[in-house]
Amino acid sequence: MHEFALAQAVVAEVEKIVEKGYRVEKLRIYLGELQSVDREVFEQYVSMMLREVQENVDVEYVDEEAEFSCRVCGYKWSLSELELDEDEREAIHFLPEAVYSYVKCPRCSSRDYAIERGRGVRISIEYSE
């Protein structure tokens, strides 16, 4: 599962902070809809790896809806507006930017759009001395 790699990256950030002598109070993990990671698998990897780094980290998962906005016509749209086949979804799962190979602006057909939100995995961390 490639979710392992994403979990590993998140825990590596926590580890960096813990190694500096801080205590991580809260880890918030935002899961972007576009990449659609397997949440259950991902959570398991995170908690498994996190245990090695620090006991009792308070982890919160936040689902983030994907939003696109067209740089040409200004139209904004969400993932539900797109029809992607299985292969395309899988490619985008591994590389969210592959979306530029399959998706055009639903209004003006431009490929010059931004992924405004909900791309992939990002995190915020609260820690104390």
Binding site: M1, H2, F4, A5, L6, Q8, A9, V10, A12, E13, K16, Y22, E25, D87, A91, I92, F94, L95, P96, E97, A98, Y100, S101, Y102, R111, D112, A114, I115, R119, G120, V121, R122, I123, S124, I125, E126, Y127, S128, E129
Partner: protein, 246 residues
Amino acid sequence: MSRHYTVLDPRLEGAKKMLSSVSRIIAVMSSKGGVGKTLFSAVFASIASRKGFRVGLLDLDITNPGLHVVLGIDPLSIQPGEEKGITPVSISRLEFMSTVFYTRDNPSPMRGTSVDNAIREVLAATRWSRLDILVVDTAPGLSDVAISTLEYFPGVEVVVVATPSRLSINSIEKLLKLLSEMKYKKYLVENMSSGNLLVDLARKYHTVYLGSIDYYREVEEYIGDIEKLVSSRFGRSVEEIANKIL
């Protein structure tokens, strides 16, 4: 007790973890396009693997990938695996990774932010085996691919490929200036040249001159057949160069 709050992109730490299994990273760069970066990367990596090194090959020319063409890979019929990350494709004794497996050789127009995102994603997700060398092919220009390559690979060494044309020299000189101020270990390969015309340029920027590769017309027919490329006159020239840094 003071409390801190930080928002992070975890992928650069993820990349460090993934790259920790790699001993040596060699980026093939050139601000000028069409000087032979892609051809050199593929053949250099193959030659290194034939010498017994464990070698990875990564295409970071995100909007214009070419390594799969040189290697003769159809990105529709083969895909990377999944095992604690994405596992590169095994081809001709190399571990090969490219975003073309996901764009499926469709056009992939991306502004710089997306190019950089794609690079971060690939570095954080790709699980290389224990490698002696990772060879990284890059894009022309001095924009996202070049900038991210120089930042995200710890201890990267740079092989600059250049032709002796005035357009190439004017361009390459700027790349060499940048590399000098950043103290990278750097080498120069002169390509499609019948002489050693860039020795002084290399010296001026404290760059190790590795040698010159002739223009060989037969190269074109061998594109797509890496074995033939390796044993061609082009391959033999690359081998002489490789021997100096392997």
